[in-house]
């Protein structure tokens, strides 16, 4: 049954999901844009970030520490993964890169399953952000409002790093032409390592921030990965603003369709992706040649 209160809370759900997808997709898209590697383990990193935060929360009882711990852990995982595996795949075909990151995602999921079993784990929201808040037309869980705010801040930080720092300038230049950056005497491999770390951290951060909203299972990364792909196709590969825009669009499509019939959420998402592919093959904010 349609009510305005229901509609508004779904719109808000869409905003929360969209913000989250925007953050995860930004991580994926800057990694792809800079390194030329599509990381199929990105969903698994989202999942792992959640679990890392869960471990910290279990030990300290502090949600803030859990967020910091989860994000930093994924930064380290990303850097190590780039250094040990990904680096050896820059000169190999795209297909090999897909295969190896896909394999790594399975290893990650199964390691988590081995340690934590398939039973779901929960991280409660911090005490300050529990309960519900009135939004005028409807009441809404306070923590979900906080998620939008937290993710917005994270996106701003990412924006600042990308557009206002020297590293960001190198990364953006690398997205356009990494060979040229290399020949300018900049150690691209160091930059690649940092970018992979930051991208992984974005996924991990989203994972722990999202943990109080859903319960953690080793398989939560898979659905997120698929949604992230749709976001990137809609927004355009290698485009940070595209990831944000695509994320919000995808979030709203999923939420609003779910209100009418959850079974059609993916169908609508896919229809939107097809429409973009037909009308703007390189994504809403993408540029030709970035693939």
């Amino acid at each position: 049954m349609f009510t305005w209160a229901n509609f508004f809370s779904q719109v808000f759900n869409g905003l929360a999901l969209g913000a989250l997808l925007a953050l995860i997709s930004s991580g994926l898209t800057i990694i792809y844009g800079t390194l030329g590697v599509l990381n199929l383990a990105h969903g698994a990193m989202f999942m792992m970030g959640g679990y890392a935060g869960y471990v910290v929360y279990d030990a300290t009882g502090s949600f803030t520490l859990a967020v910091a711990g989860g994000a930093l852990f994924m930064l380290v995982v990303g850097v190590v993964m780039e250094r040990i595996v990904i680096r050896h795949f820059y000169q190999r075909p795209h297909e090999d890169q897909l295969l190896v990151t896909f394999g790594i995602s399975i290893v990650m999921v199964e390691v988590v399953r081995l340690i934590f079993t398939s039973l779901s784990k929960t991280v409660p929201p911090p005490p300050l952000l529990t309960g519900i808040t009135s939004l005028g037309v409807t009441f809404y869980p306070t923590y979900r409002i906080a998620v939008v705010a937290i993710v917005a801040v994270a996106l701003l930080v990412l924006y600042f790093i990308l557009y206002r720092t020297k590293l960001g300038m190198i990364v953006r230049a690398g997205i356009e032409d990494s060979e040229m950056v290399d020949s300018l005497g900049i150690d691209v491999y160091r930059v690649f390592m940092i970018v992979f770390g930051i991208g992984s951290m974005a996924a991990g951060f989203a994972g722990i921030v999202n943990a109080p909203v859903v319960s953690l299972t080793p398989d939560i990364g898979e659905a997120i990965l698929v949604q992230t792909f749709v976001v990137v196709v809609i927004g355009g590969v290698g485009s940070f603003p595209g990831a944000v825009l695509g994320g919000l669009i995808a979030g709203e499509i999923i939420s609003i369709t779910s209100m009418i019939n959850p079974g059609y959420a993916y169908v609508m998402l896919f229809a939107a992706m097809t429409l973009v592919l037909v009308l703007r093959p390189y994504g809403l904010l993408g540029a030709r040649g970035r693939e």
Partner: protein, 606 residues
């Protein structure tokens, strides 16, 4: 007359399938595992044509596996369809049709975009199967009660029930599947699919409609997946909804990569390794759910260190052990000098060919890249049978001019008329089919294929047209193909290197093959973009001889910086400077033209 060696793969497969029920039980393999390996192997044949041969890595094959399986199972369980064979066939055809529709969308993009889109499409099918279509598919319960097939032989009826009794039926399906797939990869279509994997740009430029061929590979893969899905329902007497999940697509990709893509048998080997390891780890070692972790680690290590899977690894080992000896005994190959071929292979006669008069006319041709004007208002006319040279300092716009003539890039303004037909705005494939093609400044070859395969691919475009579905035709049965390839090999002096992979050719040989690729399409107008670039002085002399011999009977336009060679070769020269035609004339006129000197030397007069 079919030679036994040609059908070796088919023969060995038949023997292997016949022997399996007698050998495998002694190795501790359960009949059900053997049957599952066959279903995955069959699923993988189609996927290997898509991934291993065409180079398209799809993570959404579960969609077609599930579709074929669900359609067949629905017909047999709920619709009361009497024939198992018929249901399997309809399931397979439905998967193929769905594959065609999905392919139209997914193939709009290549590379990682393609991979991402197939992942998304796979998920959509999963959700559609679970929710909107739950009334037909049984939702999360699947469709139980799928019957097994039987075969009435006149005097008795064979019932393929389960275990080893079902095995002959699945083995027969696999055998038919592999025989057809072997035919496909040996057909002209198969050759073109590997060309697409190696170099889609050149496959397009020699005149193949690669989009249609990719779609063909996609539909073939979907059809195999659909049949395998139907067999899954029969094998389990139940069509599981899990056939649609992402893990199914993932497992297929991993099994194929483990076994070795591009071999057709790789997926079967990969499935055998995967499923028997799973049984072993879960059963004998009691690892429970950790088996997948072990397989994941094995897979990552395999991708890192064994690039072409187990089959590739075995091949490499074989080469290491046996081929070194052979190489030592073989006489070192002399570089074959180019013999001026007596018959220079004139261009094939096409409808609309001109014997005399203007073959190419460009008017007002302009190309702007943003603010940069690469070509400005070029007027250019070439007579049929002419041998024209184009020179100009670096940055004069020569290569851009060529790209517009071959329709690789659309002009910003102006028209191009070839043999009286306006070709402005046509595609490079279409123009090549009309008889206008180019050899590239930077080699565009099919690197992992042999010299002969390279030329075959180019010749096929001319002999078969831009697209044809002769999936089961043997390459040898195409009239004129062997002669064309052999002749081109002779012309470019690569006969002795015919079966050498391009990756090990010397640079000069690659340059000659580059010309050979253009030549094999039998163009009536051949453009050559710096054919002499990077060659040694001796190679230059030889190549000029080659160009002279192929110029008989066709029109050619040559760009080069080697003035001495060019002046010797061509009759008439056009000089480009800063995107405009500076002057035209005979080599002698050009040599003594002060304006040309100024263009090259920047106004420094002697």
């Amino acid at each position: 007359m079919p030679s036994p060696r040609r059908y070796l793969a088919e023969l060995l497969t038949a023997l292997g399938l016949l022997a399996a029920p007698f050998v495998l039980p002694h190795l501790g393999l359960a009949p059900n595992t053997a049957n599952r390996i066959l279903v995955w192997g069959l699923f993988g044949i189609g996927f290997d044509i898509l991934f291993g041969y065409t180079g398209l890595l799809s993570f959404g094959q579960a969609a077609f596996y599930g579709t074929g399986g669900m359609v067949a199972a629905y017909l047999l369980t709920r619709a009361g369809f009497p024939s198992v064979w018929g249901a399997l066939l309809i399931g397979m055809l439905s998967a193929a049709v769905v594959g065609w529709l999905v392919g139209l969308i997914a193939l709009r993009r290549t590379g990682i975009y393609f991979a991402m889109i197939t992942v998304a499409i796979g998920e959509v099918f999963y959700f559609v199967e679970f929710n909107p279509l739950a009334d037909w598919t049984g939702g999360e319960n699947g469709l139980p009660g799928v019957p097994t097939p039987s075969l009435y032989l006149g005097f008795t009826t064979l019932h393929f029930t389960s275990g080893w009794a079902l095995y002959p039926f699945l083995a027969a399906c696999y055998f038919v599947g592999i025989v057809l797939a072997l035919r496909i990869v040996r057909s002209p279509v198969g050759a073109i699919l590997s060309a697409i994997r190696e170099n889609p740009l050149r496959a397009t430029a020699v005149g193949h409609d690669i989009h249609s061929y990719k779609l063909t590979a996609f539909v073939i893969a979907a059809a195999y997946a659909g049949l395998a899905g139907g067999l899954l329902g029969i094998l389990q007497a139940f069509m599981p909804p899990e056939a649609f999940i992402f893990d199914t697509s993932g497992q297929l990709v991993m099994q194929t990569a483990i076994g070795g893509p591009g071999t057709l048998f790789g997926p079967l080997l990969g499935a055998a390794v995967w499923l028997s390891l799973q049984d072993f780890l879960q059963g004998a070692l009691g690892l429970g759910s950790a088996w997948k972790l072990v397989l994941g680690v094995v897979f990552v290590l395999l991708v890192c260190f064994l690039r072409h899977g187990l089959v590739g690894g075995i091949k490499d080992l074989w080469r290491l052990l046996f081929e070194r000896k052979r190489a030592e005994t073989e006489a070192p190959e002399e570089a074959t000098p180019i013999r001026a071929a007596p018959d220079s292979m004139p261009a094939r006669a096409r409808e609309g060919d001109l014997q005399a008069g203007t073959i190419l006319e460009a008017k007002g041709l302009t190309k702007r890249y943003g603010g940069l004007v690469a070509n400005s208002n070029i007027a250019f006319t070439v007579k049929a049978g002419e041998l024209r040279g184009i020179i100009g300092p670096n940055g004069a716009g020569k290569s851009t001019f060529f790209k517009m003539l071959t329709c690789e890039v659309p002009p910003s303004g102006g028209t191009i008329v070839f043999e009286g037909q306006d070709i402005t705005g046509k595609g490079v494939t279409e123009v090549c089919q009309l008889g206008l093609t180019k050899s590239y400044q930077v080699n565009q070859l099919f690197t992992r294929l042999t010299v002969r395969q390279n030329l075959t691919i180019a010749a096929l475009a001319d002999l078969r047209g831009r697209f044809r579905l002769d999936l089961f035709r043997s390459l040898e049965k195409i009239p004129g193909l062997q002669e064309r390839v052999q002749h081109t090999l002779g012309l470019v002096g690569l006969t002795a290197r015919a079966d050498t992979p391009v990756s090990v050719l010397a640079y000069g040989e690659k340059r000659r093959l580059e010309i050979g690729l253009a030549l094999a399409t039998s163009p009536s107008l051949l453009l050559l973009d710096e054919p002499l670039a990077g060659m040694s002085p001796r190679e230059r002399v030889e190549t000029v001889q080659l160009l002279k011999s192929i110029a008989r009977g066709r029109t050619m336009i040559v760009i080069d910086h080697d003035m001495d060679s060019l002046f010797e070769l061509v009759e008439w020269i056009t000089v480009l400077q800063e995107g405009r035609v500076l002057t035209e004339g005979t080599p002698d006129q050009i040599k003594s033209d002060p304006a040309v000197r100024e263009a090259y030397l920047g106004g420094v007069h002697a």
